[in-house]
Symmetry: none
């Protein structure tokens, strides 16, 4: 194990060795093994957005085995999905890629202003499926957030007892936030902080915009001249807001007409000290050859072999 991975694990000294082992399994797997960087493939869009919206662009993705294969071939650090997708494919890929069981999910058939996901899986599932971590989404900003935080807390307690790491998707949403506010830099950093305070081992947020949503926060950003004009600066601020860089934070990007725009974001994550990317639709919605090339470039940027 190299020094960077040891250094990262040292931040988790209060976790039991099982949790640290599973973090190491992700950090030491795939093309980015040992770099301290991570690229994770998540495929929960079937549940979150519906099958056609998710898989029609690349119908191979209707098959749950496809995504395992993609994650393995691309050399991702981990593959994350809901219960059904993992169950339907894992038997063909035991031990080939670290798995994250997404334990709650939300659909769009009733699109509430203040959403809450349903708890759809748990620690016993994660153990019997051979996962290294559980994943959970919270929506800070939702009127239902208290319930979600409490569900996460119970899951976290049970998961860590069983040596599983906890990955939290922290997505601000809800009736009191504007649409742009969901990715405002003060809101995204707040969401990262909440996930960290709730005990997340790995935090997943969206890349923040330069907007500041909350009036009280705005005063502070101005008074202390917090640098947030470039994306790399904002990434750095997210990392800082996640226990001063002592928690792994990875980012999801937008959808773009040109891949180069995406790669620019990846470079900003790298330059801002981010720990990696979680790349779903941008990878599995194109054919595998293109996806492998696309993911390869992203990994190349993180490892330094691609500019």
């Amino acid at each position: 194990m190299n020094d960077r991975v040891r250094e990262i694990l040292s931040w988790y000294a209060s976790e039991n060795p099982g949790v640290r082992t599973n973090l190491a399994r992700m950090l030491n797997h795939g093309r980015l093994a040992g770099t301290g960087k991570m690229v994770i493939l998540p495929v929960d869009q079937g549940f979150e957005h519906g099958p056609a919206r998710s898989f029609a662009p690349n119908p191979a993705g209707y098959d749950p085995r496809y995504h395992f294969q993609l994650a393995v071939e691309a050399g991702c650090n981990a593959y994350a999905a809901p219960l059904g997708f993992l169950e339907a494919g894992v038997s063909d890929y035991c031990g080939e890629v670290p798995l994250i069981l997404k334990c709650n999910n939300h659909d769009l058939l009733n699109d509430e202003k203040d959403p809450i996901s349903a708890v759809t899986a748990g620690v016993r599932d994660a153990l019997r499926l051979g996962c290294v971590a559980v994943g959970f989404t919270i929506y800070p900003g939702s009127a239902e957030r208290t319930e979600m935080y409490q569900q996460l807390r119970e899951l976290t307690e049970e998961a860590k007892d069983a040596g599983l790491a906890v990955v939290v998707w922290s997505y601000p949403r809800g009736s009191s936030l504007s649409k742009e506010g969901e990715t405002a830099v003060d809101v995204v950093t707040y969401a990262a902080q909440i996930a960290a305070q709730l005990g997340a081992d790995i935090i997943k947020v969206k890349l923040p915009s330069a907007k500041v949503e909350l009036a009280e926060a705005q005063k502070v950003y101005q008074k202390y001249e917090i640098p947030i004009s470039t994306l790399a600066e904002r990434v750095r601020h997210v990392i800082q807001s996640s226990f001063d860089g002592r928690r792994i934070v990875i980012f999801s990007g937008g959808t773009f007409a040109e891949d180069e725009k995406f790669f620019e974001e990846v470079r900003a994550i790298r330059d801002g000290g981010g720990f990696g990317s979680i790349v779903g639709r941008n990878s599995f919605q194109r054919n595998k050859e293109d996806a492998l090339k696309f993911l390869g470039t992203i990994m190349g940027i993180y490892e330094g072999s691609v500019q």
Copy 2:
């Protein structure tokens, strides 16, 4: 152990020796050890107000280890924080300062009129992290208060069984209170009484104003000429309202342009028979050197070495 600490512990004769031991650990730690006074460092603002508003003024505070170090160097009686902040720093400071695990938290991303905090940690966490107490916030005045009181009651039962002390933040808030009413003297004393009746070992309230919020209360304050004109008198009335001085009550102060204003409040707490201060933002939002000097003056006032 000196006589004052023994006297304070005698008020808790119905608690098991474990709870009394943990109260003693706080009372006998740090610069104020043995005085019967307490200065506690709480850092839950990352969750309650967001990271930039909390830590931008002194960016060292983004690092969870900073606050442990500050509490240790300042000689605070205890350090209180949410799960994530404790987990991320405790391994470097095992046994160096008594810890209070803040077991519920609230964020501002959906700022309800009738707030309720999410339960974010529990007794098992407190034990495995080596804490001396659990902390819990109630919002008397909130339409959700019944739920919070019941959560607190369950936490208290479990915590005391395990020998942990219970620290209650009692902050009146809610749609039926005016903004000024939240610190009205009749409301603050009522909030202190509720916390005491719920079994709190240590009660934390805001310093009360001379305002009396409730009409029925106003009649009584006038009829019996309860002295509430000076801050020291109001502190004395809070202490009286918390089982006639037989529960430890500590106070948080406001934010001021001048430190001297803050010290005047501390003198009033001391003169009114208060047991100490809980000093968060006023300490960790300035650089450590200034913070140590600031906390040192406060402790000096309580121990009598500073006027």
Copy 3:
């Protein structure tokens, strides 16, 4: 993952994916990764034989971290040890080598004729330490075997629920067996069968002699002319007796004046279709340089690079 590993996993199709993942983790780790062969380092002799007998020949082995380091450097598929040894070293080696928690242990301070080991660890321990499997010793032939089989059954049920593989040390001992009978070919194959029937995923037996202990068995061996004259034949018979080769069986060897004798045994295991070796005292009781060379030769024989 290569075809041989897939083939082996196919024998365990009734196990949940977690168990298969953990089997794959062992099969895909270290120098023999992907070969379907295994060399495991076990260090429970401190408990079983006492510290001086175990570690005086190479005092570096008193330190629990030494054995992790040896297993990592040698490229063993797994490292197996009791609770204390794993706990005292794992934090320095999280994720670097698959771990097997030896869940029962026996000492020689009261050396009964019909031994039973004490249950010294369990599934919760294995999970919090990040292990891939639990290990358990049974003594078929002991008057206490019923109790041991039942303890194993309970452990197995719980372990597999949690996705952990089960490794069984099946060592015939007890008042009704002669000393030579403990390694008689009919007794060793019987012991392997019992372990398989009890649900073992990996079975560990001693290399059998050509002796047949039980009279009723002897009649059958003669009547059907079961070939047991060479060691390779006897290994093949053990493998056959363990569900016709559909369970992983590994062997421990004796102690020899010359390493070449040991390597001859390894060649017999290989030629008889055995799955590998578990090499304890022969490796950790010599200095690390020699141990690495010794284990390297063994692995070379299994992978075919050494004759």
Copy 4:
């Protein structure tokens, strides 16, 4: 916290922060605070030997409060006793000295050859009494040892979950050991190893003699010329046998006509790298003034202020 205590705590990196905090509480308490050495006062003789044999020499010791007072005044690192003695005194000494609840006990009214102690208290008791650790005696060598190891394992699992440290008294006894064999160096080191493998945080053994009891061990001691002729050498060998010095091991001494003999043993413990002494009868069976002087000399030897 000084570097030596931090170093010791680093050996326990797999324990949760609660266990490490309670270890730190002992290491940082009393006259030897911060030295990495410990002197513990144990008083379980009332149960183990009967009241008159225990307390007639200094009748003040019949009173449970006496021993708390003695431990506090002497500046011991901890005080260990059975349930009744702790319950009957703790309320007067909450928080004044770290407490170890002795959770099993044995009396002499039926003095079996293969003894087993009765489980007389547990983790819930330890928590409600404010203890930092549980204590448990095992008798390696007893035919009943398997049951004791399993009781210890259950206690340990529960205790560490609750953040309590585990102190194991490992005393070889039983029908298969000679009386002299109980303190033979091979037997004592074996007993220390067993306690360590069972997960003990602190191990307590008797000082070993130069005798080697077991024939198989004798061969090894001779072949490798393990130095065991002086007491300091034997202490060093015990420490080595307890995970190469990575577990805290403390020693009890004999009873002597002259204190100087006892101090010589203490010097040997110090010179051999032992972590301290547990001094029961030699301290509480003399009057308090003498006991304080006696314990003071022992501590002085450990801290280096006394030759």
Copy 5:
């Protein structure tokens, strides 16, 4: 409440207020209320010795209600009996006399050398019957004592949680004790010490003889010249051996031709600082009028109105 009762309750400061309340109920009931002395009526002989041996001398005693009536009329501090006797009479006497539910019992139909009583009732029974305490017998000296101590420990934990006091009958018996040894002063004091260490609130032992049973103890009695020649001296030694007088110890007497002999014993208990008597057969085996007179004289001796 008078000062003596407050003083006695102060010894139980680690017990919860429920246990202390139930102790106070006994101490403040009946003719000896407030004196700190107790006379308890126990009727378990129907189970222990059979009905005819128990009740033929005064056939009224076959009726379970008789003993309630006797205890009430005599002004006893409490009445103790097995489940059946309490159930069959309590409805007529709710709240008239504090009740102790005897939770284990032994019969003579198989009179083992190493006896153990059967657990015949528990805490739920005691609560639903309105008892103030549970009673339990241990036989120190029996080969089965370990099991009994563990049963008592479980009962005690549950009882005290429910606020019930615990009364322990500690009767040395077993194959390793001579018949006279059962009441030897060293054995009786040892039995009292064991009960106290196990957490008994009230201890019941037999009056000790001047015999010293154990050789190791004899040396101590002689060396320290412990005064045990008179019964009062031996009572004082029992009290001393029960935490230096900080636990309530009561005594049972023998059966005598003349009542005056019995009263002499009571005077010795009084003069030796004993807390009272438990008087079974000597009271209920005579007619009620005589029994009331007999018990009246005993109480008179304790309260000082009778010489």
